[in-house]
């Protein structure tokens, strides 16, 4: 596996951190939480994450609590996304978010030449419901205009093969590295000749999210999880390969909740996730993002709401897939998720799928706010709306 020169270890993370601020939340040992219903939940090592002081890139980033929502009526036509419209939406949104007049200046606030930039997409639901090729092309085009070398950009997710199935191929993105933590070889095997999973080489055992829930998998499932036990290891894509991450999830529901910025990062960056869905879904979404490889590297969130879904997610169920014709942009993943949550909730009510709002649906946002990752209170969010066409 290729490693970039910007390797980040647990030790140099501590060295590079600015030791300020977070003294009050530093704790030792593992903590357990109380669920909304008052029952104790499994303990996690979130206290470990909070030991690391923040730096200037840490969430919620340069614009806490600010979200730009761009709507373009002609961005999707007959399931086809207009690259031109998306480019326009991205430009307007970036300028509005940053308050600059030139798009190069806007991008320069987040990334600079020489840095390795990882674009975290979501290809989980196949061609029907994944981050669109068009929005990623628009981001890459603007990054290049802002001086970022193509060789320093990579598209990534957990599953390399899903990236390819969703259209993230060398053909569509010539010269851009496309990589995943879980991967197969040319013959379709997850393991090498010795039976070792290729994915094992791609996780960083220095960085892990521990939760008191045991992951046990059958032989068919293990390649998708990489390891069993109580640790979920961070991908080396986050800890070593990328200096900065631009998060590009798709606007999707997950039951009465949403799977947007925080979920895309949390479940996309670690191994052994199967065990975390049942009791710790909300906690995982919030807590994994509080670990430095995510918290201190994700500089921008761009939600692809051109085509999304309001029910049946995170899988693709065509009757619930709709054109939202929207893009959300912000540095604060919690605030962006809160606005996305609102869009999906309104659509669910409109379609008579949900009658009333369930506080459980946004519990992960409140957890994330308590971890100082962003603003969950909708009244405190600076929500700018732009309508195009």
């Amino acid at each position: 596996m290729n490693k970039s020169n910007s390797g980040l270890t647990r030790r140099n993370f501590v060295k590079s951190s600015v030791i300020t601020g977070l003294g009050a939340v530093i704790a030792t040992g593992y903590s357990s939480a109380i669920s909304l219903s008052g029952f104790a939940k499994p303990a996690t090592n979130i206290a470990d994450a909070l030991k690391y002081a923040r730096n200037t890139s840490s969430m919620p980033g340069l614009f806490p609590g600010k979200v730009t929502e761009i709507f373009h009526a002609n961005s999707v036509n007959e399931k086809k996304i207009s690259l031109e419209a998306v480019n326009q939406m991205l430009t307007k949104g970036m300028l509005e978010l940053t308050g600059t007049k030139k798009i190069e200046k806007a991008w320069a606030m987040f990334v600079k030449p020489g840095e390795k930039i990882g674009l975290k997409v979501n290809p989980v639901a196949g061609k029907e419901l994944s981050t669109s090729i068009e929005i990623v092309k628009a981001v890459i085009s603007q990054l290049e205009k802002s001086g970022i070398d193509k060789n320093d950009i990579m598209i990534w997710d957990r599953r390399e093969f899903e990236l390819s199935e969703a259209g993230f191929t060398a053909e569509n993105f010539p010269g851009i590295k496309i990589t995943g933590t879980e991967c197969k070889d040319d013959k379709g095997s997850f393991t090498d000749e010795t039976g070792k999973l290729y994915g094992e080489e791609r996780i960083d055992k220095n960085w892990y999210y521990w939760a008191d829930v045991e992951g046990k998998y059958d032989a068919e499932t293990l390649p998708y999880m990489i390891n069993e036990g109580k640790n979920s290891y961070f991908s080396k894509i986050c800890t070593e390969m990328a200096d900065k991450i631009i998060n590009i999830p798709i606007l999707k529901n997950a039951g009465a909740s949403v799977t947007l910025c925080l979920k895309n990062l949390a479940y996309g960056a670690i191994s052994n996730t199967g065990r975390l869905h049942d009791q710790l879904w909300a906690d995982t979404c919030a807590e994994v993002c509080a670990f430095p490889p995510i918290r201190d590297k994700v500089v921008l969130n761009i939600v692809d709401g051109l085509i999304g879904c309001y029910q049946g997610g995170p899988a693709a169920n065509p009757q619930f897939i709709t054109n939202f014709n929207t893009v959300l942009i912000g540095t604060d993943p919690v605030a962006v998720d809160r606005i996305g949550y609102e869009i999906i909730y309104k659509k669910r009510v409109e379609e008579n799928i949900q009658k009333e709002e369930s506080p459980r649906g946004r519990a992960f946002l409140e957890m994330a706010e308590r971890l100082e990752l962003g603003v969950a209170d909708i009244k405190k969010i600076d929500h700018k709306k732009i309508k195009l066409a």
Binding site: S35, L36, S37, F39, V124, A125, E128, E193, Y217, D218, E220, T221, P223, Y224, M225, A254, G255, A256, S257, T259, Y267, G274, H277, D278, W281, Q311, G312, G313, P314, A315, A316, N317, P318, Q319, F320, I321, E351, N352, I353, Q354, K355, E356, S358, R360, G361
Partner: protein
């Protein structure tokens, strides 16, 4: 070494084939002149490999295996997802939670739902989803033809729904829920009193509009779970045979014990007729 590797591969492919239960496929329904573009089988928890977190809902209902066959038939590309569930109720349940704004066809025997881009079918232990890319009328017809062949091949009758008048009248909207994930999808407010009850199932009739209540028939594993529900759903209220509580958002939650593990509940704005039904047994 190479020989051992080859034997190993053979053994793996043999075991994989052996592990696959007899799942219905496109070949078995008698479809002719089609071409398989893609095919994969997912067993048990490996469903996470296909749909990541979306798998939990299927696993909660009780999932045996999924065969995905993407076929090219009469010039149309159709993705056939053939889910074998643990029983017919599980198949109906997963179908019921995913149907929306359905059209129907007399050519399909089982519970089904037709949309422009998808035909869904629940029959016997199978939940089948046929997805097309274009939504064109001609492609919808091709999907319907395939769905009809699946329906004829399964040949099993539909599941029995509970004998409650409202359920019978609106059986095309009835949802079967078998756990917290499904509940969170369609009736999240009920998690307030059911989240910590480990084994329950529910037949749920959603409200058509704000003037109607959600009506549900909840089956608990035992009487102690039923007692836990009554405490959480009707805190501080004596619950012999029936009870009601006024909701903060307006309307009522009313329930009636049908036996020591079965409860009929209505939640929302409850009309006179329904109210009377609950009150007669108070």
């Amino acid at each position: 070494m190479k020989f051992q590797y080859f034997i190993g591969l053979l053994l793996i492919s043999f075991l994989k084939t052996e592990a696959q239960p007899a799942v219905l496929n496109v070949q078995k329904i008698g479809l002719e002149n089609y071409h398989i573009v893609y095919s994969n089988y997912y067993d048990g928890n490996s469903l996470w490999g296909y749909m990541d977190g979306g798998a939990d809902l299927y696993l909660e209902y009780g999932f045996t295996g999924l065969l995905v066959e993407e076929i090219n038939y009469k010039g149309a590309v159709i993705k056939c997802e053939i889910y074998k569930m643990k029983d017919s109720l599980a198949a109906f349940g997963i179908f019921s939670i995913q149907r929306h704004k359905c059209k129907f066809s007399p050519e399909i025997k089982g519970s089904h739902c037709i949309n422009n881009y998808q035909v869904q079918l629940a029959q016997g232990n199978y939940y089948i989803s046929l997805i097309n890319q274009t939504g064109d009328l001609s492609v919808q017809q091709i999907s319907l033809e395939i769905a009809s062949k699946f329906s004829n091949s399964i040949g099993e009758k539909e599941i029995q729904i509970p004998d409650i008048q409202n359920f019978r009248l609106k059986n095309q909207q009835l949802i079967f829920i078998n756990g917290k994930i499904a509940l969170g999808n369609v009736y999240p407010q009920a998690l307030n009193y059911l989240e910590n009850i480990s084994d329950f199932s529910m037949w749920m009739l959603p409200a058509d509009n704000k003037k109607e209540p959600v009506i549900s028939l909840i089956t608990f594993e035992n009487s102690s779970q039923q007692a836990e529900y009554t405490q959480l759903a009707f805190p501080g209220i004596q619950f012999e045979k029936s009870a009601r509580v006024k909701l903060n958002k307006g309307g009522y939650r009313m329930a009636q014990k049908l036996n020591d593990h079965l409860v009929l509940q209505a939640e929302g704005k409850i009309g006179k007729e329904l109210k009377k039904m609950f009150e007669t047994s108070e």
